[in-house]
């Protein structure tokens, strides 16, 4: 995993500032992978974990903050999976008018390694081998259940040629927030090859953790796609 020069130097200075006793300069020279891991573990990781801390970004209240935080997580954790791809954030302005389909966040699939985990996920969900992954952010408090209409809404955004068949709902309490109707819709869509994944804060934590460990997100997505095979059986 190559870190750009300026970032590497900044991170080194930051680590030296916080932990002069750990001799990070020699680590960067002798064990660059370990150095990059330390950067993620000590610097970027905690900042990302903080973004899904319920005390700091309250479910049901800080909706805009949650969207922005999700955007930051996607941007940081997936930068090495799809180099050069920057997630697009479309604010939730469906209420402002009729007819326009606006996805919360989309991430274009670019420059991925076809032999990577992503290669497999993309082959299975994107007919042209390219497109965008759609993320929907639902900062609901514990009680409200995600109705089936929200799943249909996400389904409408997806199409095999442009946005693929992979949609992700980021919702604070995860699958436990899905209504029975929503679960049924997800199961039905699965038969047509559409995959709707639901990540709560717990899964987001696992996602960040995967990034901290490997510098990429593909392992997490791969395992979530695997798990989704047995959703609501």
């Amino acid at each position: 995993m190559v870190m750009d020069i300026a970032s590497s130097q900044n991170y080194l200075e930051k680590l030296q500032d916080i932990y002069p006793d750990k001799d990070y300069e020699s680590l960067r020279l002798n064990q660059p992978d370990a150095f990059n891991y330390e950067v993620r573990r000590l610097l970027t990781g905690p900042s990302l974990f903080k973004l899904v801390d319920k005390k700091l970004c309250k479910p049901g209240i800080d909706n805009d903050i949650y969207e922005r935080n999700c955007l930051k997580i996607i941007k940081e954790t997936m930068k090495n999976d799809f180099s050069g791809s920057v997630p697009n954030h479309h604010p939730q302005n469906l209420n402002r008018g009729k007819g326009s389909k606006v996805r919360d966040i989309t991430l274009e699939i670019t420059n991925h390694d076809p032999h990577s985990r992503w290669g497999k996920i993309i082959t299975d969900h994107f007919i042209r081998g390219s497109g965008s992954i759609v993320f929907e952010c639902k900062n609901y408090s514990k009680e409200p259940q995600i109705p089936k209409t929200h799943i249909y809404q996400l389904y409408q955004y997806l199409n095999p040629y442009e946005f693929g068949k992979l949609g992700i709902i980021l919702s604070r309490y995860g699958r436990s927030q899905l209504s029975l109707g929503a679960q049924e819709v997800i199961s039905r869509l699965k038969l047509d090859g559409y995959r709707i994944l639901i990540f709560g804060d717990k899964e987001m934590g696992e996602w960040i953790d995967e990034y901290v460990k490997t510098g990429r997100s593909e392992g997490f997505f791969h395992s979530q796609v695997g798990k989704s095979r047995s959703y609501f059986k």
Binding site: V2, D4, I5, Q9, K14, Q16, D17, I18, P20, D21, K22, D23, E25, S26, L27, L29, Q31, D33, A34, Y37, R41, G45, P46, S47, F49, K50, D53, K55, I61, D62, D64, I65, H89, H90, P91, N95, R96, G97, K98, S100, D113, P114, H115, S116, R117, K120, I127, R128, Y161, G205, I208, D209, V212, R216, E218, G219, H222, S223, V225, G226
Partner: protein, 990 residues
């Protein structure tokens, strides 16, 4: 390619180029190392042109030793026209840049400089550009002249100094920063110093040593590295001893790590006398002292130092093993010792003797241990055991996997494969990380496969058969069938057992139902795709039936297609047989659709329909969004008439008619002003209308009435639209905000509650505005707004506060008083408290925050991975945002309060799990005095140093001193800096 820059060479490309020119390997190593040192991301020879000159230089001079100085002399003489004629002027110009601590200046200043030094008429910007010395960069209308590489001015400045009668006094004149309380060498002149040390070490090493001996605090890591790395082994013995002692003893005295480039090269200056001293300290109490000794000895061992006899190697081996097993929890001593033990290739007893490190809680130590095993003997059963354990536990995966690639012997390979066959966990982790190692073009696991194939025998085949079925039937090994490693094992088996495919299906049949399910989920078709031959299709059709598993027929169908596309030599034949047997159909003749073109055309057709629907004179407002989103596509196909109509619709039918301030918002729940709401439909497309006009007819938006409309839309704009508004409006005036302010102040207008953060963000961008203050005060006090919006408003209020406004202070005090209330109140109170500190210097507020920092003391240790409930605390430790208002008091008067924090740190310093917190307090105190390029006062640096010295008997306070040194070194980039060319010239001519 250097990193992601395709226009630059990496050191690998440089090496290849020089090897091709028959430059000796050792010389290439020296060149690469010299350019890597302190310039690894931006080496001079990464530029292809410079690399050409380097090659020409080495070929021409046939030098045995590479001198950077001589190469630059060659470069300037060869690459720069009339260099000799212009040399003195170029030196002057370079000195100006060096004195200004920069490699760039504005074009106008550069041209003034040329005039002031009365540069020959030939020396114009064009001359510099033509000779590729500088580039001329234009950004936001400002032109800047930038040297192509920082070493160009460094060389010229060094060249100037060496041409003077007394180079030493000239060096002192430029390089010494001498101010009351602080005398030091200017860190920004280190590049010049390096050239001087390279060119005349005898003269300059002595000078630097004299200086740093007199002012020991001026020795920083950067200087130590330059001094040790650059100085050749050939300097006279007394200087050698002096240099070694000074560097080594300084760091031992400070109890901090010798910087890496210095310790790797200190061995050059070790003579019998100093070696004896080194050995004498071998049992030093501090782990830092021993760690530095280990690293220094490492340099000797690695470079086969003449004093490192067999007996001495043995002596150090025992010591290094003891160091590696040390109980201290810092980890660096252990890492250093393990690194040095790598030099004991083949001495496998070391592995078990330092095996305790495999279980270290410090991942860096575990990784160093794995690397040590890899170097000492990767084939040893114990090494292999540690590699596979590290992979299976996912605790040092990357290093352990790389170590597997060094396993070459038959016993080593068999040990490894036995582990694979017996550990589902190992297989799972190995496959799970495969994509990190096996990229499209480079399969790192290829090395492992190559080594297995070289020693392939019946035992290995048996093991491989077991591994394959275990991998495919394992839980969550989703891609096992596509694994490069597994497929290669399959091919190896096939080379020995032609009927393996039937043995394989028999194995599948015998699996228990759960494992069978796993196998069919884990992409087993990938394995069949490799195994298939045309003759197997028919028999397999009878085996892979629903009786075997419900997915079995599907797997055969998939395998046939994968065989075609996956490199099976019989792919086409297999497919034809599959078609003939009715297993699959040939879908290749289905006409291909150009989806890209179809999509573009669909987009354009949709645009046309929105622009000109069947109902005459009508249009769909979505046409604006569509154009803005798909401009490139639409413009490929549209007509001038369509363009004209779109502009007319945007301007005449919308902009001219819409009055954004009249957009109505109404919340269903009037009590909370949140939840569902209705809004005038024009709000949905007005921003797209603006975007279209800005794209096609921007001048229309600059008419004052239209500008006003854009401003008036602010209450309804989302974050993503505010950039467009800023682009159109530029810098707004208070009068223009009158309507917006009125909407945002009106409690009865629900627009105020729609997206207040947009307004707050927008006005915050223009601190000169006065009118938003009243609005912000009203928003902050409004309980109907979310706490985050109120907090955001309060943060932005800072721009409008003034010390002579008592009302402001009273307002903030009111908020601050609620700090013991709800979480929301507490957050607002903390921001109010911050303003009271930074703007009003309110003593009570300052007291509270200092007290709170102490109250928040808590144990914290960073987890190796995973969710941490202390993420917020960790962030505060990293960024000290809560302490920032105190740090920014920027007044010596408060120093005692920070010393009090330092003293408080001593009350918890002995508790291991408080180290993060102690660090936090130290960093706050240091940041108050020196941070980035800011120094509050030189005398306060001394005060902090003295505090460190006073408490040097307490464990770990050495790291306080080190942190302070780092901060001073960083701020030192501005020591003695000149801020304009004119003053620099005066200094040069003084």
């Amino acid at each position: 390619m250097l990193f992601d820059d395709p226009n630059k060479f990496s050191s690998i490309s440089d090496r290849k180029k020089l090897l091709a020119a028959n430059v000796p390997r050792s010389l290439i190593d020296s060149v690469i190392s010299q350019y890597w040192f302190h310039d690894w991301g931006n080496s001079f020879i990464a530029f292809p042109r410079h690399a050409e000159f380097l090659q020409a230089y080495l070929v021409k001079t046939k030098a045995n030793i590479f001198s950077r100085f001589d190469f630059y002399s060659f470069f300037f003489k060869t690459a720069v026209s009339d260099f000799e004629k212009n040399r003195k002027t170029l030196q002057q110009i370079a000195l100006v840049f060096e004195l200004m601590h920069t490699d760039q200046m504005s074009l106008s200043e550069f041209e003034d400089l040329l005039k002031e030094i009365k540069a020959p008429s030939q020396l114009t910007l064009v001359y510099f550009k033509n000779n590729q010395l500088v580039s001329d960069v234009s950004e936001k209308g400002k032109r800047t002249v930038k040297w192509l590489h920082h070493t160009l001015t460094e060389y010229l400045a060094a060249d100037y100094i060496l041409s003077q009668k007394d180079p030493i006094s000239t060096s002192g004149k430029f390089m010494i920063y001498d101010n009351p309380g602080l005398t030091t060498l200017k860190p920004s002149w280190n590049g010049v110093l390096r050239f001087l040390l390279e060119q005349n070490p005898e003269l300059f090493v002595g000078w630097v040593l004299d200086f740093v001996s007199k002012y020991p605090d001026s020795l920083n890591d950067n200087l130590a590295e330059i001094l040790v790395y650059t100085t050749p082994v050939s300097i006279e013995p007394t200087l050698k001893t002096r240099l070694f002692r000074f560097i080594f003893d300084s760091y031992q005295k400070r109890k901090s790590w010798i910087p890496v480039w210095a310790r790797l090269h200190l061995y050059k200056f070790i003579v019998p006398e100093t070696y004896k001293e080194l050995k004498g300290n071998v049992d030093a109490e501090s782990y830092v002292h021993r760690g530095n000794i280990a690293a220094t000895v490492g340099g000797m061992l690695q470079n086969n130092h003449e004093l490192m006899t067999a007996g001495e190697r043995k002596h150090w081996k025992e010591k290094l093993i003891a160091y590696a097993n040390d109980k201290n929890d810092n980890g660096v001593l252990q890492r250093n010792a393990l690194d040095v033990l790598e030099n004991y290739t083949g001495e496998t007893d070391i592995i078990s003797r330092v095996a305790i490190n495999a279980e270290s809680s410090d991942s860096l130590v575990r990784e160093a241990f794995i690397r040590m095993c890899q170097k000492v003997d990767p084939n040893h059963p114990e090494s292999v055991r540690f590699f596979v354990q590290a992979i299976a536990d996912d605790r040092a995966h990357i290093y352990a996997r790389n170590a597997l690639y060094d396993i070459t012997s038959a016993p080593g390979v068999k040990t490894l494969l036995r582990h694979f066959a017996e550990s589902p966990k190992l297989i799972h982790q190995f496959l799970d990380k495969e994509s990190i190692f096996n990229k499209e073009d480079v399969h790192a696991d290829q090395k492992l496969i190559y080594h297995i194939r070289k020693v392939l025998d019946d035992e290995i085949v048996t093991l491989a058969i077991k591994i394959i079925i275990e991998a495919l039937s394992g839980d969550r090994n989703y891609d096992a069938g596509n694994s490069y490693f597994i497929r290669q094992l399959v091919m190896m088996i096939m080379s020995r057992q032609k009927d393996y495919i039937y043995k394989f299906t028999k194995q599948i049949k015998d699996l228990d139902p759960k494992k069978k399910d796993n196998l069919f989920i884990n992409d087993v078709e990938g394995i069949f795709a490799v195994l298939l031959t045309p003759d197997d299709i028919e028999p397999l059709q009878k085996i892979l039936t629903p009786d075997l598993h419900r997915h079995a027929p599907f797997v055969l169908q998939q395998a046939i297609w994968q065989a075609l596309h996956g490199g099976n030599a019989y792919g086409e034949e297999i497919l034809q047989r599959g078609i003939a047997l009715g297993i699959t159909q040939d879908m290749r003749n289905t006409p291909a659709i150009d989806y890209q073109k179809k999509r573009e055309w669909d987009t354009y057709r949709q645009f046309q329909q929105y622009l000109n629907p069947p109902e005459k004179g009508q249009y769909f407002p979505d046409v604006f969004r569509m154009y803005a989103q798909s401009r490139e596509v639409i413009e490929k196909y549209w007509s001038q008439a369509e363009k004209k109509r779109l502009i007319e619709l945007a301007i005449e039918s919308n902009l001219d008619k819409i009055e954004p301030e009249k957009i109505k918002v109404r919340y269903k729940n009037q009590a909370s002003k949140s939840g569902q709401y209705t809004i005038s439909s024009i709000a949905a497309y007005f921003p797209q209308v603006l975007q279209v006009i800005q794209m096609l007819e921007p001048s229309a938006l600059q008419r004052s009435s239209n500008r006003q409309k854009v401003v008036n839309y602010i209450p309804f704009a989302y974050n993503s639209e505010i950039a467009l508004i800023e682009q159109i409006v530029g810098e707004p005036k208070d009068e223009e905000l009158k309507t917006v302010n009125s909407i945002m102040s009106d409690h009865n207008n629900d627009a105020r509650y729609l997206i207040p953060q947009t307004y707050i963000y927008f006005v915050g961008r223009f601190p000169y505005l006065k009118s938003p203050k009243r609005v912000l005060l009203s928003l902050i006090a409004d309980q109907h707004l979310s706490e985050s919006d109120r907090r955001y408003g309060l943060k932005n209020l800072k721009n409008y506060l003034s010390t002579d406004n008592e009302n402001d202070k009273t307002f903030l005090k009111g908020l601050e008083l609620k700090r013991n209330g709800s979480d929301d109140d507490r957050r607002l109170a903390e921001i109010a408290n911050a303003h009271l500190i930074t703007v009003f210097k309110d003593p009570d507020s300052i007291d509270w925050r200092f007290g709170e920092i102490k109250k928040r003391a808590r144990p914290y240790e960073r987890p190796e991975s995973g969710w941490s409930d202390g993420a917020d605390f960790a962030n505060e430790i990293d960024l000290y945002a809560f302490a920032e208002p105190l740090i920014e008091l920027n007044d010596e008067w408060y120093l005692d309060r920070f010393i009090d924090l330092l003293d408080f740190s001593l009350t918890v310093i002995d508790k291991r799990d408080y180290h993060e917190y102690v660090n936090y307090l130290w960093r706050i105190a240091i940041a108050f005095v020196v941070r980035d390029d800011y120094i509050l006062s030189v005398s306060l640096i001394e005060t902090l140093r003295k505090w460190g010295q006073t408490h040097s008997d307490r464990e770990n306070t050495n790291w306080f001193a080190k942190r302070l040194d780092n901060a001073v070194e960083k701020a030192g980039s501005n020591f003695g800096k000149y801020y304009n060319a004119h003053d620099s010239l005066r200094m040069i001519n003084k």
